[in-house]
């Protein structure tokens, strides 16, 4: 990945120096080595802060919405999964395709620092990548960790190394290696529970919500200019002082708003400070759409109609096909 970081820096420097683009969106060093943040670069001197390593999980496509309004060309470095989100934004007419220079970069799967810590490692100073392994430097010496064991949950449902949209690519495609993973396994498990158990599960899970809105802010599909949840008149705008259904409604509405447009990028559950499995709600919608209306991957292309923006005269009747125990 160090090699790719070098290539990205060179590419960004060339583009900015030649004036081909006015800004570059990539990742920059965070406060800690494991919290790299999205970075906006508009001159070549800033580029030293640009990084690309196993801690660049952030999906950069959403930042293009604000940027394309400026009537300038922006270069963006996107991992294969991020290109799906960009494609979806292009399809939703939220990003002007001609104002973006998409540079695809390979990804071997991003690492979850909490999973590294959970391996019993203390005093972590730094992590270097070494093929399928990570060398973790700690205050108690160095240790090898298999990358497959510490991948972010979202990387377990990797969409592969192909780019859904790109103008150029850098480096050779890489594969994310991990054990077989069924992204709908937990959804299916929940469907097999009784309604009471399901309700208890979600009440427990969603009552952890602190309404920080991080899931909404990170979501590339949540791209409304004015969000329903920013309306102070709405009873859903803030955290209720009781365990009522308010959080559930927030999360159902949020999941519903992105239904059919959610690419399952998994950013919502990654950024949730409370560790709520928000991906389950999105995956439930994806699973339903796949089952009721045929397999559909949002963002895979920029022309097919979204499932909720199209219909078939012989679609199932509401309620007739609902999965799950009653």
């Amino acid at each position: 990945m160090q090699k790719i970081e070098q290539l990205i820096k060179e590419k960004a420097r060339d583009l900015l120096a030649a004036g081909q683009v006015t800004s570059v969106i990539a990742w920059q060093k965070g406060e800690m080595f494991y919290d790299n943040a999205p970075g906006y670069f508009d001159n070549t001197e800033e580029l030293d802060a640009l990084v690309y390593n196993a801690f660049c999980a952030a999906n950069l496509s959403k930042y293009l919405i604000a940027n394309t309004k400026k009537d300038e060309k922006t270069a963006v470095f996107l991992k294969p999964c991020d290109t799906y989100s960009l494609n979806q934004l292009i399809k939703d007419r939220r990003v002007q395709r001609e104002q973006v220079l998409v540079i695809g970069i390979p990804c071997a799967g991003m690492v979850d620092i909490n999973k590294v810590k959970a391996q019993g490692l203390k005093g972590i100073i730094g992590i270097t990548e070494d093929g399928d392994n990570l060398t973790v430097e700690t205050a108690y010496g160095t240790k090898q960790v298999a990358r497959a064991e510490v991948l972010l949950n979202k990387c377990l449902a990797c969409k592969g190394s192909a780019y859904a949209v790109s103008d150029e690519t850098i480096g050779e495609p890489m594969a994310v290696k991990h054990a077989p993973y069924d992204r709908f396994a937990v959804v299916k498990e929940l469907e097999s529970l009784s309604p009471q158990e399901r309700f208890a599960f979600w009440q427990e899970e969603l009552s952890k919500c602190i309404r920080c809105n991080a899931c909404r802010d990170i979501c590339p599909a949540c791209s409304c200019e004015q969000c329903l949840f920013d309306n102070p008149e709405s009873p859903l705008a803030g955290k209720a002082n009781n365990n009522s259904a308010e959080e559930q409604l927030f999360h159902i509405i949020r999941a519903y708003h992105v239904a059919g447009r959610c690419t399952d990028c998994g950013e919502c559950s990654r950024v949730c400070p409370q560790g709520i499995r928000l991906d389950l709600l999105n995956r439930k919608f994806i699973k339903d759409i796949n089952e009721f209306y045929g397999d559909y991957q949002a963002g895979a292309d920029a022309d097919t109609n979204a499932p909720l923006l199209s219909f078939d005269v012989d679609d199932v009747e509401p309620g007739a096909a609902t999965k799950g125990r009653e």
């Binding site: 959804v187 159902i252 239904a259 919608f285 309620g319």
Partner: protein
């Protein structure tokens, strides 16, 4: 504010919100009236221009504010005044119903029916049977905002 009366000494009175399409079900309700067919008074009709006008948020909001059941009545598939609105509504409601069930809410609290302007009898029957279903299910406690409860 919509809130079901549910003091223990009083019998449970269900509160039902019905979203009726202006071009069919709403006229169906009229026909039920002129034909002297009665249906429960617990049903509060909200007239919408088309069943696809019903944003899923409206339904959730109705539940939040104390509705025990919500029914959407639209034109029969193929008969939409706007040619295809009810097809879109059908997909939306299918997904919403499935999600409510996934969250552990009884999906029978939400119903979608196709009732034409000529089906006054069907309108009365559907509303009566839905009111009975909701009566049997009891008060909606799972999706209600307790702040709205009187």
């Amino acid at each position: 504010m919509l809130a079901a009366q549910s003091t223990p000494d009083k019998e449970f009175e269900q509160l039902i919100v019905a979203f009726c399409c202006n071009w069919c079900s709403y006229a169906g309700a009229d026909l039920a009236g002129t034909a002297r067919r009665s249906y429960p008074a617990n049903i509060k009709i909200i007239r919408v221009p088309c069943s696809c006008r019903v944003n899923p948020t409206f339904i959730l909001r109705a539940f939040l504010r104390g509705a025990d059941g919500v029914i959407i009545a639209g034109c029969h598939p193929g008969d939409c005044h706007y040619t295809s609105g009810n097809y879109f509504a059908r997909r939306r409601m299918t997904l919403l119903m499935s999600m409510l069930s996934f969250l552990g809410v009884d999906k029978a609290r939400l119903r979608v029916e196709w009732v034409s302007a000529a089906e006054g009898n069907k309108f009365a029957e559907v509303m009566t049977s839905f009111a009975e279903t909701i009566k049997a299910l009891g008060e909606n406690v799972k999706l209600r905002d307790l702040r709205c409860k009187k």
